[in-house]
């Protein structure tokens, strides 16, 4: 018989050969020293492998000490998922829908998400509602549920972030890529009245005069921009002075020193400027959103006016509401506001007798010592409740991580050091990421996670304080008790004048450091690197 190969030897040792073949192998091995040697080496290797794998005691983590119960998770999951669902609902009803309607109202009707991101956040009024307690809780829970579901993929965090960035980038990229004309002034640029630009026009010049027609948008970086012709798309201007005397079928958006409209704008106007003026001859079909020092409305506006200005003069016709935050509001006798006038000011509005207003309402900021209001204490109780529920969700969903983070609070110096570092460095890093368009998604995600981390920090410190007071008794019940007591104590301390703010600050950076240490502990797990076969 010839020498047998390694495969046959292995199968022989594992008793996988039929009797006849096994007898052949055994007979050959008695006569052949090299095959005998091979069998011995393989047998030894098998035993060595067994010893190596069985050896080495693994410390069983504390969270695995208790047997898992069949009925232990559902209610935790139900609570978390219910909160998660309410978070999703909140996200939809409080953010997406109002955002879209506000954006549409302001003229952002295209699918350019990036533009909406940049421009709509500044004037969206729903942020106040978003700050409400339950919504924040629901949103945080939603984020935690998502994080929990993705926990096994954290090692591919960068890949996830890149995919998210790519998706957002695709969403934000202007969908139809049209040809555009680029013009550089020498130093001025003029589009003559007999000229027509069939596409978008981008101009960089000292002085830009549009006497002709533009079939697309006009985007101009120029000290002075005068539109006397006809622009069928939007007008977007960065410069010192803008005057629209012609016709704009789309929207006007400008970042200028002075903006004057005495022509016609079919849709909406948004202006960041020192002076914003709608002349008597000027008409705007849609709404106006203005951030200005002086706001003058003498022409005709079809939609709402939302303004932030020191001085607001109204003498024209407004088709719908006027909502303005201003120092001085003056309404002339020629003014007509078909909707409601709502203004927030330290001074009473100067309303001329002949002015026609649907209604007028003034909001005055009330300065009342907060300690005298029962609402303040009710609010504190709600805050405590929110923290408790948030901590409870963490305890149920990630008990191991919660325990790690709470325990990490004992490492005072590293926790404080890392906490301070991450507390200040993270938003700066996120901001830097936001500056680049591709990094916007990562930056925004980082900000959201940062906000959750800051909130969670106080929960971990509360758990630690509770443990210091009640002792480290194992089990879920005692942990909940510790959390409740710790939170209560810290909330009481936060109410105290002078030191309350410092208590909160210490809680945040200390807890943040503990969170970072716990995360580090989790992430330093070994990752398999496949070897080439």
């Amino acid at each position: 018989m010839n020498h047998f190969d390694e495969m046959t030897a292995l199968l022989y040792l594992d008793a996988q050969l039929d009797t006849e073949r096994a007898q052949e192998i055994a007979a050959h091995a008695t006569e052949c020293s090299s095959c005998q040697e091979l069998l011995r080496a393989l047998r030894d290797e098998g035993a060595w492998l067994h010893r190596s794998l069985v050896a080495g005691e693994e410390t069983v983590p504390a969270r695995l000490m208790e047997a898992p119960e069949r009925g232990s998770t559902p209610w935790g999951w139900v609570t978390a998922l219910a909160l998660g669902a309410s978070g999703a609902y909140t996200l939809w009803t409080s953010v997406i829908v109002p955002w879209q309607s506000q954006a549409a109202q302001a003229g952002f009707t295209q699918t350019n998400l990036l533009t909406m991101l940049f421009f709509s956040g500044a004037f969206w009024k729903g942020w106040d509602a978003m700050r409400s307690l339950t919504e924040f809780l629901a949103m945080s829970t939603l984020a935690i549920v998502v994080s929990w579901l993705l926990r096994r993929h954290w090692r591919r965090l960068m890949a996830v972030a890149l995919v998210m960035s790519a998706i957002l980038f695709l969403l934000t990229a202007p969908s139809p890529v049209r040809a555009a004309e680029m013009k550089h002034g020498d130093p001025n640029y003029t589009l003559r009245s007999d000229e027509t630009v069939p596409t978008d026009l981008f101009v960089a010049a000292q002085r830009t005069v549009i006497d002709g027609n533009i079939d697309g948008d006009l985007v101009a970086w120029s000290q002075v921009v005068i539109v006397d012709g006809h622009v069928k798309g939007d007008v977007i201007v960065f410069g010192q002075q803008l005057r629209v005397s012609g016709t704009v079928d789309g929207n006007v958006r400008c970042f200028v020193q002075s903006a004057t409209i005495n022509g016609s704008v079919a849709r909406n106007v948004m202006s960041w400027s020192n002076e914003a003026t709608l002349d008597q001859k000027g008409t705007i079909g849609g709404s106006i959103t203005v951030f200005a020092n002086d706001l003058t409305l003498a022409g005709k506006v079809g939609g709402d006016v939302l303004g932030f200005a020191n001085f607001t003069d109204v003498s024209g016709t407004l088709g719908r509401d006027l909502t303005v935050r201003t120092d001085h509001l003056s309404i002339a006798s020629t003014a007509e506001v078909k909707g409601r006038v709502k203004y927030r000011s330290e001074h009473e509005a100067d309303v001329a007798s002949g002015a026609k207003l649907g209604s007028i309402e003034r909001e005055v900021s009330k300065a009342q010592p907060r300690y005298l209001s029962w609402r303040y204490y009710w609010h504190r109780i709600l805050l405590w409740g929110a923290g408790f529920v948030f901590g409870l969700v963490l305890l149920l969903l990630v008990p191991g991580f919660y325990a790690d983070a709470t325990a990490a609070c004992k490492k005072y110096a590293p926790a404080s050091g890392f906490g301070l570092l991450f507390l200040f460095a993270t938003p700066i890093a996120a901001l830097i990421m936001c500056v680049t368009i591709v990094g916007l998604a990562i930056g925004v995600t980082t900000f959201l996670l940062y906000a959750i981390a800051v909130y969670a920090s106080t929960v971990f410190v509360s758990g630690f304080v509770g443990e210091a007071l009640l002792g480290p008794k194992p089990g879920m019940g005692p942990a909940i008790g510790r959390l409740a007591l710790g939170l209560l104590l810290l909330h009481v301390l936060r109410v105290l004048p002078y030191i309350g703010g410092w208590v909160l600050f210490i809680e945040i950076f200390w807890g943040m450091g503990a969170l970072v240490l716990a995360l580090y502990k989790r992430l330093r797990t070994q990752v398999a690197i496949p070897v080439p076969a």
Partner: protein, 195 residues
């Protein structure tokens, strides 16, 4: 625990006795956790898997055939669970059956094998194991840690029974390659701080 005691305890667990379940868990959890640590490279995954395996064990205890050893059944449940986990997340497919079968295997030098066993510590072997492709690692763990039969390994990994030997031999070669590629003591020192 004797076989009779185990049978009694299992009966109590089936009847819903929480204390018996706790005892059973405490007795077998360390071994299953160790198994998961060998099968899954990340400690966090091993922790999660241990909990999930015992949840399955409790659900499936009614299907356990008491004529078979309990530990073998337990390891079979654990193997299936770990392999499912790995399969679900696998980005890089391991080599297909045909490819592996056609790969030439270098005949081992018995002296070299012996030297490897002398020079390499158990820790180094386990660290090297974590660097193998999923299927190779699982095959070795199932055979040399859980002591599963060829049939059980074939069933768990979803391969033909005749292919199990090839898989094991290939895995051994890959392990030898990894262990032989670095100087003794280096890998263990590098991985010493890892969970």
């Amino acid at each position: 625990m004797s076989a009779t005691e185990l049978v009694e305890e299992l009966a109590r667990v089936r009847a819903g006795d929480a204390q018996a379940w706790g005892e059973l868990y405490r007795q077998y959890a360390p071994a299953i956790f160790r198994f998961c640590r060998r099968a899954l490279p990340a400690r966090e995954d091993a922790e999660d898997a241990t909990t999930e395996i015992f949840m399955k064990v409790r659900q499936k205890l009614g299907t356990y055939d008491s004529s078979r050893p309990f530990t073998a059944w337990l390891y079979k449940v654990a193997s299936n669970h770990c392999w499912d986990m790995l399969r679900r997340r696998r980005i890089r497919q391991d080599l297909e059956t045909g490819d592996v079968e056609s790969l030439p295997l270098e005949h081992p030098d018995p002296d070299q094998l012996e030297r490897l066993q002398v020079e390499r510590t158990s820790k180094e072997v386990r660290d090297a194991l974590a660097r193998l492709p999923d299927r190779a690692r699982m095959a070795l763990v199932l055979r040399y840690y859980a002591d599963l039969s060829y049939d059980e390994i074939a069933d768990t990994l979803g391969v033909r029974r005749a292919f199990v030997g090839v898989l094991l031999l290939r895995a051994r070669h890959q392990l030898r390659d990894v262990l032989g590629a670095e100087p003794a003591g280096m890998r263990g020192a590098a991985a010493g701080s890892k969970g």
